[in-house]
């Protein structure tokens, strides 16, 4: 089976009628030892990412990093401007008048966190993806409307074009199709 280049197809895609059956199929597939799984649905389905073996996302840490950078950068900028680079002594008031720096520090914290949240989301999800093999499957356009899919990718060590197809057909799907590159 192992060849030098990439496997002949991207994976095998099965379409399911409803969410219970999709969840069941995902659990059966990961129970059977498949690891390179993904499911495609028009709305978030509770428990589905667990079923395909994806438990945690690093996104909260990415957002925290953005918030910390925003906060330190914002406060640091104001402190540097008012106390180091361009100090103005007005009536003997302190140069580091930190309460006055809080609003901008807060705004930049939120800004940093939000930018990291959105760009982190896109980066972790690998978006933008102008071309993806899944779009070669005709039925896949319904994934953004009403259809539910489970895909076993060919990079899975257990993947075998014929056996995996038979396995997916055994899960009572609506339809099974191969995903061309």
């Amino acid at each position: 089976m192992k060849r030098a280049g990439r496997p002949p197809i991207y994976g095998i895609l099965a379409e399911f009628e409803d969410r219970e059956r999709l969840l069941e199929a995902a659990q059966t597939a990961s129970g059977a030892g498949y690891r390179a799984l993904d499911a495609y649905t028009p709305l978030p389905v509770e428990g589905l990412s667990d079923a395909i073996g994806f438990h945690h996302t690093r996104l909260p840490w990415v957002v925290f990093t953005g918030a910390a950078l925003g906060a330190l950068g914002g406060f640091g900028m104001q402190l540097y401007a008012s106390a180091v680079h361009y100090p103005l002594n007005i009536g003997g008031r302190p140069l580091n008048s930190w309460p006055a720096f809080i609003p901008i520090t807060f705004e930049l914290t939120v800004l940093g966190a939000s930018l990291f949240a959105v760009f982190g989301l896109l980066a972790l999800n690998g978006l933008p993806t102008p071309y993806h093999p899944l779009f070669n499957v005709d039925r896949f356009e319904f994934a953004s409307r009403e259809a539910l899919f489970l895909c076993i990718k060919s990079k899975d060590p257990k993947f075998d074009r014929a056996a995996t197809r038979r396995f997916l057909e055994g899960l009572r799907p609506h339809e099974v199709s191969e995903v061309e590159w």
Binding site: D38, P44, S49, A100, P103, E107, A117, V118, S144
Partner: protein
Amino acid sequence: MSDVPERTASLSGGPVLEPGHTYRSVTEKISSIALARKTPKEWWIGFGVSFLLLMMLLYATGYLFIKGVGIWGINMPVAWGFAIVNFVWWVGIGHAGTLISAILLLLRQEWRTSINRFAEAMTLFAVACAGLFPLLHLGRPWVFYWLFPYPDTMRLWPQFRSPLVWDVFAVSTYATVSLLFWFVGLLPDLATLRDRARRRPAKIIYGILAMGWRGSATHWHRYETAYLLLAGLATPLVVSVHTVVSFDFAAGIIPGWHTTIFPPYFVAGAIYSGFAMVLTLSIPLRAFYGLEDFITMRHLENMAKVLIATGLIVAYGYAAELFMSWYSANAAEQFLAKNRAFGPYWPAYWALILCNVLTVQLLWFRRIRTRPWFLWVIAIVINVGMWLERYVIVVVSLTRDFLPSIWRSYHGTVWDWATFLGSMGLFLSLLFLFIRFLPVISIAEMRSLVDETEGRE
């Protein structure tokens, strides 16, 4: 109503989505507004009128650039006139959008789902209009970037201790975060439009915007995390923005401005005017596009209740201002309170009390709350009232401050009005384009409501 599930019906009777819908019917109904082959005639009329107003804005600002701010009614001591009134009014209108999408999401209020998308769009366009006014008011608008900390050859920094600079940071952060939040919410729906579009240009444009979204389970997992985090970030942001706007006034020592009630009172006023604007827009929209199934009576009633609550807070703000001017025993403050009610600008003050405090009390009656067109008129009255409130705060305080020798009256000129009405043209033009090209209701979120309405039949 027996087939309506308990959870969706628990709060105030009606459902958040009329029963009988499926993923397919929801998707088709909402996306067909954006994908329609023929643009309705009424849309062209609405857009045409808005576009004419937008042209008036361009004309007024063009003339302003040539002549300077002298064409406006501002003078000394009333250096801020319509510009700050309009700025505060527009920023306030934006707040309901973020409130609906962020705070109500965190509070798991399902009724927000049908209205959050266009309320967020409304926020973006309102903030765009708001941002325009301080820039135009600068006198030399082409050097607006001096407000930002950037490496300049003059080695100058903005004054970070000034509320006006806080405003720059608050409003630009608010605009950016609202845009990001809106876009993240749109992402799955853009994929739906990409897959449903039949014409090639539409497919390509929606395809580029959807960035290859495929609804993968791992993607959804991160998406939900990101959306909740953004909601959590936007929630304190909303409160901070109008608080900072109120600091513009409260940090000044002018009578009528230097008040500690301002931050909460401004935030409540912002939500008040924002919800009034959501009603002003959603009632015609739902009637025209037949969206009564999605924007149900329950939504309208809930928004009416939010109006009563925030209206009462605003009324409390007025009372607190009067009480404090009396209790402070400060002659200038006491004079100001009298001058507002009985001075040269008394019609504006009493009109604002009529619009903001008295009219809203009609909403206590269920029969009025459940009549959309009645609600619509009340919402517009509140919008006018909130504009008058800012007018009274800005103008009456500035025309009569501590020193009678510099007292001078103020009235907006034709250019003030042209710029103000023109900014409505900008707002409405953007809104009409949004309604035409993007889904006005979040399709992906409506699908989850479908599960709840059909699951228990």
